[in-house]
Amino acid sequence: MKLNGARILLECLKREGVDTIFGYPGGTVINLYDELFSFKEIRHILPRHEQAGVHAADGYARATGKVGVAIATSGPGATNTITGIATAYMDSIPMVIITGQVPTALIGNDAFQEADIIGITRPCTKHNFLVKDVKDLATIMKKAFYIARTGRPGPVLVDLPKDVQIAQTEFHYPESVEIRGYKPTVEGHPKQIEKAVTMIMQAKKPVIYVGGGVILGNAAAELVALAKRLGIPVTTTLMGLGSYPENDPHSLGLLGMHGTYYANMAVSHCDMLIAIGARFDDRVTGKIASFAPHAKIVHVDVDPTSIKKNVRVDLPIVGDVRDVLVKMLKVADEIGPDAKACQAALAPWIAEIDEWKQKHPMTYKQATSVIKPQYVIQRLRALSDPDAIVATDVGQHQMWTAQFFGFTTPRTLLSSGGLGTMGFGLPAAMGAQAGFPDRQVMVVCGDGGFQMNMQELATIVQNRLNVKIVILNNNFLGMVRQWQELFFDKRYSSTCMELPIDFIKLAEAFGATGLQATKVEEVDEVIKKGFATKGPVLMEFKVAREEKVLPMVPAGASLTEMVLAS
């Protein structure tokens, strides 16, 4: 039977297991929306801005591990998606973005609402396609999903002209696709793995350094098994939080610019660094020349370009992190001493780390007169479900969440790590809640980031998404203010947001519940009430205005040059 392009697209999505899409209609996707009107197998959520739609698809993908799907119309609709696409690209999130395009005959003619979205998104997508013929559509969709979810995942854009949506052809969805130039290396090289395990077992002061790749590769359980088997402590990047339980005694927590003292000291003193699915971001390494100066480095990554990009690597292993970790564990069992012996051999190193932990724990100065943001984060952890999903925006609250929430489960922290996108949190939480309607989902925002996409309150309310919104309000663009305080002589240029916004009324205006805490003793009460109240709730906490995120490694300094909290 012949189907039109719009219907074919929806059939393709269905066959890829897509159950939820986030999209915004417009002239060039009106045919697609017309088909969607009677296509009940896919839930469509209408955001209030295309950027938020893409962030929502991103949050859905980060939380569920499935490919997120977003739709936008041509021209301004498509260009509005860029920040969302770039965010997903930097964090390797699997997504397919479908944009409408003017009819093929008009492409390149400066038609109404025309933008060269293929050209615009080339540097921030893993790949993109312009569908010129309806006969190619099904194969292109198959390729798009395959590329998005395999290898190092990423966003793939499909630009779909209006006439292709109308044109008809026989629908056949291919079982598989062959792409000559795309053959990701999935299996780690056995010889390299054996060499790595031997090297690791000879080390006296090893540290495992984990990035988002372990979460994306669904390899958290394998990571924990290997770390425990070998008795090696684990530090994670922001994107890696949740891959190793932070309540484990061998957890070093976050490292880098706002990492723990003990993680940064451990990395600076280790003789072996095992980097897994991490890319040595400058926020992690500090000054490259003094990063892990005594260490041999083993680097496991599915993306060969990540290896040796920023730091020297003694032993690279290209492959899917789960495959490599499983094989490493097997090799360790074959050639190494047992777990007890491994742990005993590393006892002096663990003792050294424990001393750092005791000397400079992750802490802050508690106050009774004013709410400390770190305290709110700790109370959120204490009063929320163990598997609660936390989205964040970008800035101080993001770092406090990373430092003090104590993540124990993968895919429970959704945060824009690579691009650092303000406005990401609220729509990402919305996407996660759409993916997991029965789980507790909250977003921790600053007052600044919240205002970047607060229109999504409307989407949340309309779709009855049970998102709990936490605003740590210090009336500042806090992180920039912190830098101005530390490095620009307190010249707070344009970082003060003094406008007295009534966030409670705002929430109510959108049909959500608004709660506020201004005193320390109100914090628990508001959180408990917020979580107990059905539907979307906005909880505003008026927090200490000039609180800083500490410890901190100033940009460009070595990890050992930390400004400490005490």
């Binding site: 080339r122 893993k126 000559r180 130039g181 795309y182 060969p304 370009t305 040796k308």
Partner: protein, 163 residues
């Protein structure tokens, strides 16, 4: 270090801009670039010359390999490759220099492809060093216009590289 890199790509629209965008986006420079179809009409071959230390060249080749439309990348070692470029050069040919232009053309086995009372236009092919040696000898005689293809490269020996 100068490197000549050959990239075998799908013969589709937009591929060249992906390759070039990769260079511009990362601040790498391209000295020259040649693109044309191959014996397999589904494929095109890009030959580009770039510069960088070992680490930069490694990143360039890895990043090129990462592009979905790129099928193969080879960073040619000069001793294992044959490099050729073609140059068309228009030289003033006044009374006193006409014979000299022809002599130089003859030495470098260049062909005269256009003649006027005031100029010769020469076509020369060869290794980039040879071509540039000829151009340097012609320059003092009055170089009016020069256009070059930039080098293309093929590996030495019987082994072919078809993708």
């Amino acid at each position: 270090m100068r490197h000549t890199i050959a990239v075998l790509v799908e013969n589709e629209f937009g591929v060249l801009s992906r390759v070039v965008g990769l260079f511009s986006g990362r601040g790498f420079n391209i000295d020259s670039l040649t693109v044309a179809p191959t014996n397999d009409e589904a494929l095109s071959r890009i030959t580009l010359v770039t510069r960088g230390d070992e680490q930069i060249i490694e990143q360039i080749t890895k990043q090129l390999n990462k592009l979905i439309d790129v099928i193969k990348v080879i960073d040619f070692e000069p001793e294992h490759a044959i490099e050729r470029e073609m140059v068309l050069v228009k030289v003033s040919a006044e009374e006193q220099s006409r014979a000299e232009v022809l002599r130089i053309a003859d030495i470098f086995r260049a062909k005269v492809i256009d003649v006027t009372p005031k100029s010769y236009t020469l076509e020369a092919t060869g290794a980039p060093a040879k071509v540039s040696a000829m151009v340097e000898l012609l320059r003092p005689l009055g170089l009016k216009e020069l256009v070059s293809t930039g080098p293309v490269v093929i590996g030495r020996g019987a082994k072919a590289w078809k993708g």
